[in-house]
Protein backbone atom coordinates (compact mmCIF):
# COMPACT_ATOMS: atom_id res chain seq x y z
CA UNK A 1 0.00 0.00 0.00
CA UNK A 2 1.29 3.46 -0.90
CA UNK A 3 1.98 5.39 2.28
CA UNK A 4 0.99 8.72 0.77
CA UNK A 5 -2.48 7.33 0.30
CA UNK A 6 -2.88 6.67 3.98
CA UNK A 7 -5.49 9.01 5.45
CA UNK A 8 -4.34 11.68 7.84
CA UNK A 9 -5.12 11.18 11.50
CA UNK A 10 -8.29 13.24 11.63
CA UNK A 11 -9.96 11.55 8.69
CA UNK A 12 -11.94 8.45 9.46
CA UNK A 13 -12.30 5.60 7.05
CA UNK A 14 -15.89 6.57 6.39
CA UNK A 15 -15.03 10.15 5.56
CA UNK A 16 -13.00 9.26 2.49
CA UNK A 17 -15.16 6.99 0.39
CA UNK A 18 -13.79 8.29 -2.92
CA UNK A 19 -10.10 7.95 -2.14
CA UNK A 20 -8.51 5.23 -4.23
CA UNK A 21 -6.42 2.55 -2.56
CA UNK A 22 -4.73 -0.09 -4.69
CA UNK A 23 -6.80 0.87 -7.74
CA UNK A 24 -10.14 0.46 -5.97
CA UNK A 25 -12.45 2.87 -4.24
CA UNK A 26 -12.89 2.27 -0.58
CA UNK A 27 -16.43 1.08 -1.20
CA UNK A 28 -15.22 -1.49 -3.72
CA UNK A 29 -12.52 -2.57 -1.35
CA UNK A 30 -15.03 -2.94 1.44
CA UNK A 31 -17.30 -5.06 -0.73
CA UNK A 32 -14.37 -7.23 -1.73
CA UNK A 33 -13.21 -7.77 1.85
CA UNK A 34 -16.78 -8.36 2.97
CA UNK A 35 -17.31 -11.19 0.52
CA UNK A 36 -13.88 -12.60 1.32
CA UNK A 37 -14.71 -12.73 5.04
CA UNK A 38 -18.07 -14.23 4.25
CA UNK A 39 -16.64 -16.89 1.95
CA UNK A 40 -15.89 -19.66 4.49
CA UNK A 41 -19.34 -19.34 6.03
CA UNK A 42 -20.98 -19.34 2.59
CA UNK A 43 -19.02 -22.42 1.55
CA UNK A 44 -20.13 -24.27 4.66
CA UNK A 45 -23.74 -23.20 4.15
CA UNK A 46 -23.63 -24.38 0.54
CA UNK A 47 -21.92 -27.67 1.36
CA UNK A 48 -23.95 -28.53 4.42
CA UNK A 49 -27.37 -27.16 3.57
CA UNK A 50 -27.86 -26.03 -0.03
CA UNK A 51 -26.38 -29.04 -1.81
CA UNK A 52 -28.12 -31.61 0.44
CA UNK A 53 -31.38 -29.67 0.10
CA UNK A 54 -31.12 -29.62 -3.70
CA UNK A 55 -30.29 -33.31 -3.66
CA UNK A 56 -33.21 -34.09 -1.37
CA UNK A 57 -35.58 -32.26 -3.70
CA UNK A 58 -34.10 -34.12 -6.68
CA UNK A 59 -34.36 -37.53 -4.99
CA UNK A 60 -37.99 -36.85 -4.14
CA UNK A 61 -38.71 -37.17 -7.89
CA UNK A 62 -36.81 -40.46 -8.19
CA UNK A 63 -37.04 -44.01 -6.91
CA UNK A 64 -33.57 -43.72 -5.36
CA UNK A 65 -32.74 -46.50 -2.93
CA UNK A 66 -29.53 -46.61 -0.97
CA UNK A 67 -27.37 -49.67 -1.55
CA UNK A 68 -29.61 -50.89 -4.37
CA UNK A 69 -28.01 -52.37 -7.45
CA UNK A 70 -30.48 -51.06 -10.01
CA UNK A 71 -30.09 -47.58 -11.41
CA UNK A 72 -32.08 -44.63 -10.06
CA UNK A 73 -35.00 -43.59 -12.25
CA UNK A 74 -36.77 -40.28 -12.63
CA UNK A 75 -40.40 -40.94 -11.73
CA UNK A 76 -41.82 -37.43 -11.62
CA UNK A 77 -44.50 -36.85 -9.03
CA UNK A 78 -45.05 -40.56 -8.36
CA UNK A 79 -43.77 -40.34 -4.75
CA UNK A 80 -46.05 -37.41 -4.01
CA UNK A 81 -49.01 -39.12 -5.65
CA UNK A 82 -48.36 -42.16 -3.51
CA UNK A 83 -48.17 -40.00 -0.37
CA UNK A 84 -51.71 -38.76 -1.01
CA UNK A 85 -52.98 -42.31 -0.70
CA UNK A 86 -50.63 -43.32 2.12
CA UNK A 87 -52.58 -43.83 5.35
CA UNK A 88 -49.39 -43.87 7.42
CA UNK A 89 -48.48 -40.44 6.10
CA UNK A 90 -51.89 -38.98 6.89
CA UNK A 91 -51.76 -40.49 10.35
CA UNK A 92 -48.34 -38.86 10.84
CA UNK A 93 -49.77 -35.52 9.70
CA UNK A 94 -52.68 -35.87 12.13
CA UNK A 95 -50.36 -36.74 15.03
CA UNK A 96 -48.02 -33.85 14.25
CA UNK A 97 -50.74 -31.24 13.82
CA UNK A 98 -52.57 -32.32 16.96
CA UNK A 99 -49.31 -32.29 18.89
CA UNK A 100 -48.44 -28.83 17.55
CA UNK A 101 -51.81 -27.21 18.24
CA UNK A 102 -52.18 -28.58 21.76
CA UNK A 103 -48.62 -28.00 22.94
CA UNK A 104 -48.27 -24.52 21.46
CA UNK A 105 -51.53 -23.34 23.04
CA UNK A 106 -50.75 -24.96 26.40
CA UNK A 107 -47.18 -23.69 26.44
CA UNK A 108 -48.31 -20.19 25.60
CA UNK A 109 -51.02 -20.07 28.27
CA UNK A 110 -48.83 -21.62 30.96
CA UNK A 111 -45.77 -19.67 29.85
CA UNK A 112 -47.67 -16.39 30.10
CA UNK A 113 -48.87 -17.30 33.57
CA UNK A 114 -45.34 -18.16 34.69
CA UNK A 115 -43.92 -15.02 33.09
CA UNK A 116 -46.47 -12.83 34.89
CA UNK A 117 -45.76 -14.52 38.22
CA UNK A 118 -41.99 -14.25 37.83
CA UNK A 119 -42.25 -10.67 36.61
CA UNK A 120 -43.63 -9.48 39.94
CA UNK A 121 -41.00 -8.66 42.51
CA UNK A 122 -40.33 -11.33 45.10
CA UNK A 123 -37.40 -12.84 46.91
CA UNK A 124 -35.59 -15.54 44.94
CA UNK A 125 -36.69 -14.23 41.57
CA UNK A 126 -33.20 -14.50 40.07
CA UNK A 127 -32.98 -18.09 41.22
CA UNK A 128 -36.38 -18.80 39.69
CA UNK A 129 -35.29 -17.35 36.36
CA UNK A 130 -32.19 -19.52 36.40
CA UNK A 131 -34.17 -22.63 37.35
CA UNK A 132 -36.48 -22.04 34.41
CA UNK A 133 -33.59 -22.53 31.99
CA UNK A 134 -32.79 -25.98 33.29
CA UNK A 135 -35.43 -28.06 31.45
CA UNK A 136 -34.49 -26.22 28.26
CA UNK A 137 -30.81 -27.11 28.64
CA UNK A 138 -31.11 -30.85 29.08
CA UNK A 139 -31.28 -33.04 25.97
CA UNK A 140 -34.78 -33.99 24.80
CA UNK A 141 -33.70 -37.63 24.65
CA UNK A 142 -32.81 -37.56 28.32
CA UNK A 143 -35.98 -35.83 29.45
CA UNK A 144 -37.97 -38.31 27.36
CA UNK A 145 -36.28 -41.21 29.16
CA UNK A 146 -36.90 -39.61 32.56
CA UNK A 147 -40.59 -39.34 31.79
CA UNK A 148 -40.77 -42.76 30.19
CA UNK A 149 -39.67 -44.18 33.51
CA UNK A 150 -42.27 -42.12 35.39
CA UNK A 151 -44.93 -43.42 32.99
CA UNK A 152 -43.89 -47.05 33.55
CA UNK A 153 -47.00 -49.20 33.85
CA UNK A 154 -45.82 -51.30 36.81
CA UNK A 155 -43.26 -49.29 38.78
CA UNK A 156 -43.99 -45.79 37.47
CA UNK A 157 -44.52 -42.97 39.91
CA UNK A 158 -47.55 -41.61 38.03
CA UNK A 159 -49.62 -44.68 38.43
CA UNK A 160 -48.63 -44.78 42.07
CA UNK A 161 -49.58 -41.13 42.68
CA UNK A 162 -52.92 -41.48 40.92
CA UNK A 163 -53.71 -44.62 42.88
CA UNK A 164 -52.83 -42.99 46.18
CA UNK A 165 -55.11 -40.09 45.27
CA UNK A 166 -57.81 -42.60 44.43
CA UNK A 167 -58.14 -41.37 40.87
CA UNK A 168 -57.47 -44.75 39.26
CA UNK A 169 -57.89 -48.29 40.50
CA UNK A 170 -55.81 -50.18 37.97
CA UNK A 171 -52.40 -49.14 36.69
CA UNK A 172 -52.52 -47.66 33.22
CA UNK A 173 -50.06 -48.45 30.43
CA UNK A 174 -49.86 -44.80 29.40
CA UNK A 175 -47.68 -45.29 26.35
CA UNK A 176 -49.52 -48.27 24.89
CA UNK A 177 -52.63 -46.71 23.34
CA UNK A 178 -52.61 -43.54 21.21
CA UNK A 179 -55.43 -42.08 23.33
CA UNK A 180 -53.12 -41.85 26.36
CA UNK A 181 -49.76 -41.92 24.55
CA UNK A 182 -50.32 -38.61 22.78
CA UNK A 183 -51.32 -36.68 25.92
CA UNK A 184 -48.32 -38.28 27.65
CA UNK A 185 -45.90 -37.09 25.00
CA UNK A 186 -47.51 -33.63 25.00
CA UNK A 187 -47.01 -33.38 28.76
CA UNK A 188 -43.28 -33.97 28.28
CA UNK A 189 -42.99 -31.29 25.63
CA UNK A 190 -45.03 -28.83 27.68
CA UNK A 191 -42.82 -29.50 30.69
CA UNK A 192 -39.64 -29.03 28.70
CA UNK A 193 -40.49 -25.92 26.71
CA UNK A 194 -43.00 -23.91 28.74
CA UNK A 195 -40.17 -22.35 30.79
CA UNK A 196 -38.48 -21.31 27.56
CA UNK A 197 -41.68 -19.67 26.30
CA UNK A 198 -42.01 -18.00 29.69
CA UNK A 199 -38.48 -16.59 29.40
CA UNK A 200 -39.22 -15.14 25.94
CA UNK A 201 -42.43 -13.55 27.26
CA UNK A 202 -40.64 -12.35 30.40
CA UNK A 203 -38.10 -10.55 28.24
CA UNK A 204 -41.03 -8.82 26.54
CA UNK A 205 -42.72 -7.96 29.86
CA UNK A 206 -39.61 -6.37 31.26
CA UNK A 207 -39.41 -3.70 28.58
CA UNK A 208 -42.94 -2.44 29.29
CA UNK A 209 -42.45 0.85 31.18
CA UNK A 210 -43.61 0.79 34.80
CA UNK A 211 -45.11 4.31 34.43
CA UNK A 212 -47.88 2.99 32.22
CA UNK A 213 -49.18 0.84 35.06
CA UNK A 214 -48.75 3.64 37.57
CA UNK A 215 -50.76 6.00 35.40
CA UNK A 216 -53.44 3.36 34.90
CA UNK A 217 -53.67 2.76 38.64
CA UNK A 218 -54.08 6.51 39.24
CA UNK A 219 -56.88 6.50 36.67
CA UNK A 220 -58.52 3.69 38.65
CA UNK A 221 -58.13 0.90 36.08
CA UNK A 222 -58.47 -2.59 37.56
CA UNK A 223 -55.65 -5.14 37.35
CA UNK A 224 -57.50 -7.15 34.74
CA UNK A 225 -58.16 -4.07 32.65
CA UNK A 226 -54.49 -3.08 32.91
CA UNK A 227 -53.54 -6.53 31.69
CA UNK A 228 -55.90 -6.37 28.71
CA UNK A 229 -55.16 -2.77 27.70
CA UNK A 230 -51.45 -2.43 28.50
CA UNK A 231 -49.75 -5.80 28.91
CA UNK A 232 -51.27 -7.82 26.09
CA UNK A 233 -50.93 -5.25 23.29
CA UNK A 234 -47.35 -4.34 24.23
CA UNK A 235 -46.43 -8.00 24.54
CA UNK A 236 -47.63 -8.78 21.01
CA UNK A 237 -44.18 -8.96 19.35
CA UNK A 238 -42.84 -11.32 22.02
CA UNK A 239 -46.00 -13.44 21.76
CA UNK A 240 -45.68 -13.68 17.98
CA UNK A 241 -42.06 -14.77 18.23
CA UNK A 242 -42.82 -17.35 20.90
CA UNK A 243 -45.76 -18.83 18.98
CA UNK A 244 -43.91 -19.06 15.69
CA UNK A 245 -40.79 -20.53 17.27
CA UNK A 246 -42.77 -23.14 19.12
CA UNK A 247 -44.81 -24.08 16.05
CA UNK A 248 -41.61 -24.52 14.03
CA UNK A 249 -40.19 -26.82 16.67
CA UNK A 250 -43.37 -28.81 17.20
CA UNK A 251 -43.91 -29.40 13.47
CA UNK A 252 -40.53 -31.10 13.15
CA UNK A 253 -40.77 -33.01 16.44
CA UNK A 254 -38.66 -36.15 16.33
CA UNK A 255 -36.62 -36.90 19.45
CA UNK A 256 -39.31 -37.28 22.08
CA UNK A 257 -41.57 -39.38 19.84
CA UNK A 258 -38.76 -41.65 18.70
CA UNK A 259 -37.51 -42.27 22.23
CA UNK A 260 -41.00 -43.08 23.50
CA UNK A 261 -42.40 -45.06 20.60
CA UNK A 262 -39.72 -45.69 17.99
CA UNK A 263 -41.34 -45.71 14.55
CA UNK A 264 -44.66 -47.05 15.82
CA UNK A 265 -47.23 -46.42 13.06
CA UNK A 266 -50.02 -45.02 15.25
CA UNK A 267 -47.84 -42.47 17.05
CA UNK A 268 -45.22 -41.34 14.57
CA UNK A 269 -44.73 -37.75 13.48
CA UNK A 270 -43.94 -36.56 9.96
CA UNK A 271 -40.24 -36.34 10.85
CA UNK A 272 -40.18 -39.86 12.28
CA UNK A 273 -41.90 -41.20 9.18
CA UNK A 274 -39.37 -39.46 6.91
CA UNK A 275 -36.36 -40.67 8.89
CA UNK A 276 -37.68 -44.21 9.04
CA UNK A 277 -38.21 -44.37 5.28
CA UNK A 278 -34.78 -42.98 4.50
CA UNK A 279 -32.65 -44.81 7.06
CA UNK A 280 -34.50 -47.98 8.06
CA UNK A 281 -36.04 -48.76 4.65
CA UNK A 282 -33.24 -47.13 2.57
CA UNK A 283 -36.08 -45.63 0.52
CA UNK A 284 -34.36 -42.31 -0.07
CA UNK A 285 -36.74 -41.24 -2.83
CA UNK A 286 -39.95 -41.65 -0.86
CA UNK A 287 -38.44 -40.36 2.39
CA UNK A 288 -37.12 -37.31 0.55
CA UNK A 289 -40.60 -36.51 -0.73
CA UNK A 290 -41.79 -36.47 2.90
CA UNK A 291 -38.83 -34.28 3.89
CA UNK A 292 -39.65 -31.82 1.13
CA UNK A 293 -43.24 -31.54 2.34
CA UNK A 294 -42.05 -30.90 5.91
CA UNK A 295 -39.69 -28.29 4.53
CA UNK A 296 -42.49 -26.54 2.64
CA UNK A 297 -44.83 -26.54 5.64
CA UNK A 298 -42.14 -25.07 7.87
CA UNK A 299 -41.07 -22.60 5.17
CA UNK A 300 -44.50 -20.97 5.39
CA UNK A 301 -43.89 -20.25 9.06
CA UNK A 302 -40.34 -19.05 8.42
CA UNK A 303 -41.51 -16.61 5.75
CA UNK A 304 -44.16 -15.30 8.13
CA UNK A 305 -41.54 -14.83 10.80
CA UNK A 306 -38.91 -13.18 8.60
CA UNK A 307 -41.41 -10.74 7.08
CA UNK A 308 -42.68 -9.81 10.53
CA UNK A 309 -39.11 -8.90 11.45
CA UNK A 310 -38.23 -7.17 8.20
CA UNK A 311 -38.66 -3.66 9.51
CA UNK A 312 -36.25 -4.29 12.32
CA UNK A 313 -33.67 -6.22 10.33
CA UNK A 314 -33.45 -3.48 7.69
CA UNK A 315 -32.64 -0.72 10.15
Amino acid sequence: MDTTERPIATATARAIPRRRIGGMTLAERQAWTGWLFLLPALLVVIGVAMVPLAQTVYYSFTDKRLGALQATNWIGFENYRFLLRDNLWWSAVRVTVLFTVVTVIAEFALGLLIALVVNSRFRGRGLMRAAMLVPWAIPTVLSAQMWKWMYNDIFGVFNDMLRRLGLIEQNIAWLAKPSTALPAVMAIDIWKTTPFVALLLLAGLQVIPEELYEAATVDGASRIRQFLVITLPLLRPAIAVALIFRSLDALRAFDVFYVLFGARPDTQTMAVYAQNNIVAFSDVGYGSAISVLIFLIIAIFVVAYVTSLRVEAES
Binding site: A31, G34, V45, M146, V259
Partner: protein, 286 residues
Protein backbone atom coordinates in the same frame (compact mmCIF):
# COMPACT_ATOMS: atom_id res chain seq x y z
CA UNK B 1 -64.65 -1.99 50.86
CA UNK B 2 -63.63 -1.70 54.50
CA UNK B 3 -59.88 -1.66 55.30
CA UNK B 4 -60.22 -4.96 57.13
CA UNK B 5 -61.74 -6.67 54.15
CA UNK B 6 -59.11 -5.20 51.87
CA UNK B 7 -56.42 -6.61 54.17
CA UNK B 8 -57.96 -10.07 54.03
CA UNK B 9 -58.21 -9.84 50.27
CA UNK B 10 -54.59 -8.80 49.96
CA UNK B 11 -53.48 -11.65 52.19
CA UNK B 12 -55.53 -14.05 50.11
CA UNK B 13 -53.89 -12.73 46.95
CA UNK B 14 -50.45 -13.17 48.48
CA UNK B 15 -51.21 -16.74 49.54
CA UNK B 16 -52.57 -17.58 46.13
CA UNK B 17 -49.39 -16.17 44.57
CA UNK B 18 -47.12 -18.36 46.68
CA UNK B 19 -49.28 -21.44 46.14
CA UNK B 20 -49.13 -20.83 42.40
CA UNK B 21 -45.37 -20.34 42.54
CA UNK B 22 -45.05 -23.52 44.58
CA UNK B 23 -47.00 -25.55 42.02
CA UNK B 24 -44.90 -24.15 39.18
CA UNK B 25 -41.64 -24.96 40.97
CA UNK B 26 -42.88 -28.46 41.84
CA UNK B 27 -43.88 -29.10 38.23
CA UNK B 28 -40.45 -27.95 37.01
CA UNK B 29 -38.43 -29.77 39.64
CA UNK B 30 -40.24 -33.04 40.29
CA UNK B 31 -39.01 -34.97 37.20
CA UNK B 32 -35.44 -34.07 38.15
CA UNK B 33 -36.03 -35.16 41.70
CA UNK B 34 -37.42 -38.42 40.40
CA UNK B 35 -34.42 -39.03 38.15
CA UNK B 36 -32.06 -38.47 41.08
CA UNK B 37 -34.17 -40.63 43.41
CA UNK B 38 -34.19 -43.42 40.85
CA UNK B 39 -30.45 -43.12 40.38
CA UNK B 40 -29.65 -43.58 44.07
CA UNK B 41 -31.93 -46.48 45.00
CA UNK B 42 -30.95 -50.14 44.62
CA UNK B 43 -32.95 -52.29 42.21
CA UNK B 44 -34.76 -53.93 45.11
CA UNK B 45 -36.38 -50.57 45.89
CA UNK B 46 -36.59 -49.44 42.27
CA UNK B 47 -38.69 -52.39 41.19
CA UNK B 48 -41.02 -52.57 44.15
CA UNK B 49 -44.59 -51.51 44.72
CA UNK B 50 -45.88 -49.36 46.26
CA UNK B 51 -43.37 -46.81 45.12
CA UNK B 52 -40.90 -45.45 47.68
CA UNK B 53 -40.79 -41.65 47.46
CA UNK B 54 -37.96 -40.92 49.83
CA UNK B 55 -35.18 -43.54 49.72
CA UNK B 56 -34.13 -44.74 53.16
CA UNK B 57 -30.74 -46.14 52.20
CA UNK B 58 -29.34 -44.31 49.16
CA UNK B 59 -26.52 -45.96 47.26
CA UNK B 60 -24.07 -44.81 44.59
CA UNK B 61 -24.00 -48.26 43.00
CA UNK B 62 -25.74 -47.18 39.80
CA UNK B 63 -23.26 -44.33 39.33
CA UNK B 64 -20.33 -46.70 39.86
CA UNK B 65 -21.65 -49.13 37.27
CA UNK B 66 -22.26 -46.39 34.73
CA UNK B 67 -18.83 -44.80 35.19
CA UNK B 68 -17.17 -48.21 34.98
CA UNK B 69 -18.97 -48.91 31.71
CA UNK B 70 -16.65 -48.54 28.73
CA UNK B 71 -19.56 -47.72 26.43
CA UNK B 72 -20.70 -44.80 28.50
CA UNK B 73 -17.21 -43.35 28.81
CA UNK B 74 -16.74 -43.75 25.07
CA UNK B 75 -20.03 -41.92 24.44
CA UNK B 76 -19.02 -38.99 26.65
CA UNK B 77 -15.71 -38.79 24.83
CA UNK B 78 -17.44 -38.91 21.42
CA UNK B 79 -19.92 -36.22 22.38
CA UNK B 80 -17.13 -34.01 23.70
CA UNK B 81 -15.11 -34.42 20.50
CA UNK B 82 -18.08 -33.75 18.23
CA UNK B 83 -19.61 -30.87 20.18
CA UNK B 84 -16.18 -29.31 20.79
CA UNK B 85 -15.15 -29.43 17.12
CA UNK B 86 -18.51 -28.14 15.92
CA UNK B 87 -18.39 -25.25 18.39
CA UNK B 88 -14.83 -24.22 17.46
CA UNK B 89 -15.53 -24.44 13.73
CA UNK B 90 -18.78 -22.49 14.00
CA UNK B 91 -17.17 -19.75 16.06
CA UNK B 92 -14.19 -19.39 13.75
CA UNK B 93 -16.10 -19.40 10.48
CA UNK B 94 -19.16 -17.75 11.97
CA UNK B 95 -17.37 -14.80 13.60
CA UNK B 96 -15.61 -13.96 10.34
CA UNK B 97 -18.88 -14.05 8.42
CA UNK B 98 -20.74 -12.18 11.15
CA UNK B 99 -18.11 -9.43 11.07
CA UNK B 100 -18.59 -9.06 7.33
CA UNK B 101 -22.37 -8.98 7.59
CA UNK B 102 -22.41 -6.71 10.62
CA UNK B 103 -19.74 -4.14 9.78
CA UNK B 104 -19.17 -3.99 6.04
CA UNK B 105 -21.64 -2.55 3.62
CA UNK B 106 -21.77 -4.18 0.21
CA UNK B 107 -24.32 -5.18 -2.38
CA UNK B 108 -25.94 -8.51 -1.63
CA UNK B 109 -25.54 -8.19 2.11
CA UNK B 110 -29.25 -8.04 2.85
CA UNK B 111 -30.17 -11.19 0.86
CA UNK B 112 -27.36 -13.09 2.57
CA UNK B 113 -28.66 -11.92 5.94
CA UNK B 114 -32.10 -13.23 5.09
CA UNK B 115 -30.73 -16.58 3.94
CA UNK B 116 -28.82 -16.92 7.22
CA UNK B 117 -31.84 -15.92 9.30
CA UNK B 118 -34.07 -18.41 7.48
CA UNK B 119 -31.48 -21.10 7.97
CA UNK B 120 -31.53 -20.67 11.74
CA UNK B 121 -35.02 -22.16 11.47
CA UNK B 122 -34.09 -24.87 8.99
CA UNK B 123 -35.60 -28.23 9.97
CA UNK B 124 -32.72 -30.71 9.96
CA UNK B 125 -35.00 -33.55 8.80
CA UNK B 126 -35.69 -31.73 5.52
CA UNK B 127 -32.20 -32.41 4.17
CA UNK B 128 -31.86 -35.90 5.64
CA UNK B 129 -32.16 -37.72 2.29
CA UNK B 130 -29.49 -35.60 0.61
CA UNK B 131 -27.15 -35.59 3.61
CA UNK B 132 -27.50 -39.33 4.12
CA UNK B 133 -26.48 -40.11 0.53
CA UNK B 134 -23.67 -37.52 0.56
CA UNK B 135 -22.26 -38.95 3.77
CA UNK B 136 -22.40 -42.52 2.45
CA UNK B 137 -20.81 -41.50 -0.86
CA UNK B 138 -17.90 -39.75 0.86
CA UNK B 139 -17.31 -42.72 3.15
CA UNK B 140 -18.23 -40.66 6.21
CA UNK B 141 -20.96 -43.05 7.35
CA UNK B 142 -20.45 -44.28 10.92
CA UNK B 143 -17.68 -41.74 11.52
CA UNK B 144 -17.70 -38.87 14.00
CA UNK B 145 -16.71 -36.60 11.10
CA UNK B 146 -20.18 -37.09 9.63
CA UNK B 147 -21.66 -35.59 12.79
CA UNK B 148 -19.25 -32.64 12.89
CA UNK B 149 -20.07 -31.92 9.25
CA UNK B 150 -23.83 -32.25 9.57
CA UNK B 151 -24.18 -30.41 12.90
CA UNK B 152 -22.81 -27.25 11.27
CA UNK B 153 -26.18 -26.97 9.54
CA UNK B 154 -27.80 -25.74 12.74
CA UNK B 155 -24.87 -24.25 14.67
CA UNK B 156 -23.33 -22.05 11.96
CA UNK B 157 -26.34 -19.94 10.87
CA UNK B 158 -27.25 -19.40 14.49
CA UNK B 159 -23.69 -18.36 15.39
CA UNK B 160 -23.47 -15.94 12.47
CA UNK B 161 -26.83 -14.39 13.31
CA UNK B 162 -26.23 -13.82 17.02
CA UNK B 163 -22.63 -12.64 16.57
CA UNK B 164 -23.78 -10.27 13.84
CA UNK B 165 -26.19 -8.52 16.20
CA UNK B 166 -23.32 -8.45 18.66
CA UNK B 167 -20.82 -6.86 16.27
CA UNK B 168 -23.35 -4.23 15.24
CA UNK B 169 -23.60 -3.00 18.81
CA UNK B 170 -19.85 -2.42 19.22
CA UNK B 171 -18.62 1.19 18.97
CA UNK B 172 -16.97 2.25 15.72
CA UNK B 173 -14.11 4.27 17.19
CA UNK B 174 -11.65 1.49 17.92
CA UNK B 175 -12.17 -0.12 14.55
CA UNK B 176 -11.64 3.16 12.74
CA UNK B 177 -8.55 3.94 14.80
CA UNK B 178 -7.12 0.59 13.74
CA UNK B 179 -7.78 1.30 10.06
CA UNK B 180 -6.29 4.76 10.41
CA UNK B 181 -3.17 3.17 11.87
CA UNK B 182 -2.93 1.04 8.75
CA UNK B 183 -4.20 -2.29 10.07
CA UNK B 184 -5.60 -4.68 7.46
CA UNK B 185 -9.25 -5.70 7.81
CA UNK B 186 -8.20 -9.12 9.04
CA UNK B 187 -5.86 -7.67 11.66
CA UNK B 188 -8.64 -5.37 12.82
CA UNK B 189 -10.99 -8.31 13.07
CA UNK B 190 -8.53 -10.61 14.82
CA UNK B 191 -6.85 -8.15 17.19
CA UNK B 192 -9.62 -5.65 17.95
CA UNK B 193 -13.09 -6.93 17.16
CA UNK B 194 -12.71 -10.53 18.25
CA UNK B 195 -11.39 -9.73 21.75
CA UNK B 196 -14.12 -7.10 22.14
CA UNK B 197 -16.78 -9.65 21.32
CA UNK B 198 -15.51 -12.24 23.81
CA UNK B 199 -18.77 -12.23 25.82
CA UNK B 200 -20.75 -12.85 22.63
CA UNK B 201 -18.39 -15.65 21.64
CA UNK B 202 -18.82 -17.32 25.02
CA UNK B 203 -22.61 -17.17 24.79
CA UNK B 204 -22.92 -18.40 21.22
CA UNK B 205 -20.23 -21.01 21.79
CA UNK B 206 -22.11 -22.34 24.77
CA UNK B 207 -25.41 -22.43 22.89
CA UNK B 208 -23.78 -24.18 19.93
CA UNK B 209 -22.14 -26.68 22.26
CA UNK B 210 -25.42 -27.47 24.02
CA UNK B 211 -27.23 -27.85 20.68
CA UNK B 212 -24.58 -30.25 19.37
CA UNK B 213 -24.41 -32.15 22.65
CA UNK B 214 -28.19 -32.65 22.64
CA UNK B 215 -28.56 -33.65 18.97
CA UNK B 216 -30.24 -36.97 18.25
CA UNK B 217 -31.66 -37.28 14.71
CA UNK B 218 -28.37 -37.13 12.78
CA UNK B 219 -26.50 -39.17 15.38
CA UNK B 220 -29.17 -41.85 15.06
CA UNK B 221 -29.11 -41.77 11.25
CA UNK B 222 -25.39 -41.46 10.48
CA UNK B 223 -23.78 -43.85 12.96
CA UNK B 224 -24.19 -47.54 13.44
CA UNK B 225 -21.74 -49.17 15.83
CA UNK B 226 -21.73 -48.67 19.63
CA UNK B 227 -18.21 -47.19 19.62
CA UNK B 228 -19.46 -44.21 17.57
CA UNK B 229 -22.43 -43.40 19.80
CA UNK B 230 -22.85 -39.98 21.32
CA UNK B 231 -24.31 -39.49 24.78
CA UNK B 232 -27.89 -39.07 23.59
CA UNK B 233 -27.63 -42.25 21.52
CA UNK B 234 -26.01 -44.19 24.35
CA UNK B 235 -28.84 -43.26 26.68
CA UNK B 236 -31.41 -44.04 24.01
CA UNK B 237 -29.90 -47.49 23.42
CA UNK B 238 -29.35 -48.12 27.12
CA UNK B 239 -28.98 -51.85 27.54
CA UNK B 240 -28.66 -53.99 30.64
CA UNK B 241 -25.12 -54.04 32.05
CA UNK B 242 -25.80 -56.59 34.74
CA UNK B 243 -28.87 -58.42 33.56
CA UNK B 244 -30.76 -58.40 36.83
CA UNK B 245 -33.82 -59.94 35.22
CA UNK B 246 -35.35 -56.65 34.17
CA UNK B 247 -35.39 -55.45 30.62
CA UNK B 248 -34.13 -51.93 31.17
CA UNK B 249 -31.82 -50.99 34.07
CA UNK B 250 -33.71 -47.79 34.89
CA UNK B 251 -31.51 -47.00 37.87
CA UNK B 252 -28.35 -46.99 35.78
CA UNK B 253 -30.06 -45.08 33.01
CA UNK B 254 -31.16 -42.40 35.45
CA UNK B 255 -27.63 -42.30 36.93
CA UNK B 256 -26.25 -41.74 33.43
CA UNK B 257 -28.87 -39.08 32.78
CA UNK B 258 -27.96 -37.26 35.98
CA UNK B 259 -24.25 -37.46 35.14
CA UNK B 260 -24.78 -36.04 31.66
CA UNK B 261 -27.23 -33.37 32.77
CA UNK B 262 -25.23 -32.06 35.71
CA UNK B 263 -22.51 -30.25 33.73
CA UNK B 264 -25.18 -28.72 31.48
CA UNK B 265 -27.12 -27.47 34.49
CA UNK B 266 -24.00 -26.01 36.08
CA UNK B 267 -23.03 -24.26 32.85
CA UNK B 268 -26.55 -22.95 32.38
CA UNK B 269 -26.73 -21.59 35.90
CA UNK B 270 -23.33 -19.90 35.63
CA UNK B 271 -24.06 -18.30 32.27
CA UNK B 272 -27.83 -17.89 32.67
CA UNK B 273 -27.87 -14.12 32.12
CA UNK B 274 -25.81 -14.39 28.97
CA UNK B 275 -27.81 -17.33 27.66
CA UNK B 276 -31.08 -15.50 28.10
CA UNK B 277 -29.56 -12.46 26.41
CA UNK B 278 -28.25 -14.62 23.56
CA UNK B 279 -31.52 -16.47 23.09
CA UNK B 280 -33.58 -13.32 23.07
CA UNK B 281 -31.09 -11.63 20.72
CA UNK B 282 -31.55 -14.55 18.36
CA UNK B 283 -35.29 -14.63 18.78
CA UNK B 284 -36.85 -11.36 19.81
CA UNK B 285 -34.58 -8.79 18.27
CA UNK B 286 -34.10 -10.69 15.02
Amino acid sequence: MTPARRRVLRRLERTLFWVLLGIIVLYLIFPFYWAIRSAIVPDSVQFATPVVYWPADPTLDNFRKVIASGQFRRAVLNSTIVAGSVTLLSLLVGALGAYALGRFSFRGRTPVRYVILSMTMFPSVSVLGGLYTLITQFGLYNRLGALVYSYLIFTLPFTVWVLMTFFRQLPRDLEEAAYVDGATPFQTFWRIMLPLSAPGLVTTGLLAFIAAWNEFLYALSFTQTPDKRTVTLAIFYFSPQTGGGFEIPWGQMMAATVLVTLPLIVLTLIFQRRIIAGLTAGAVKG
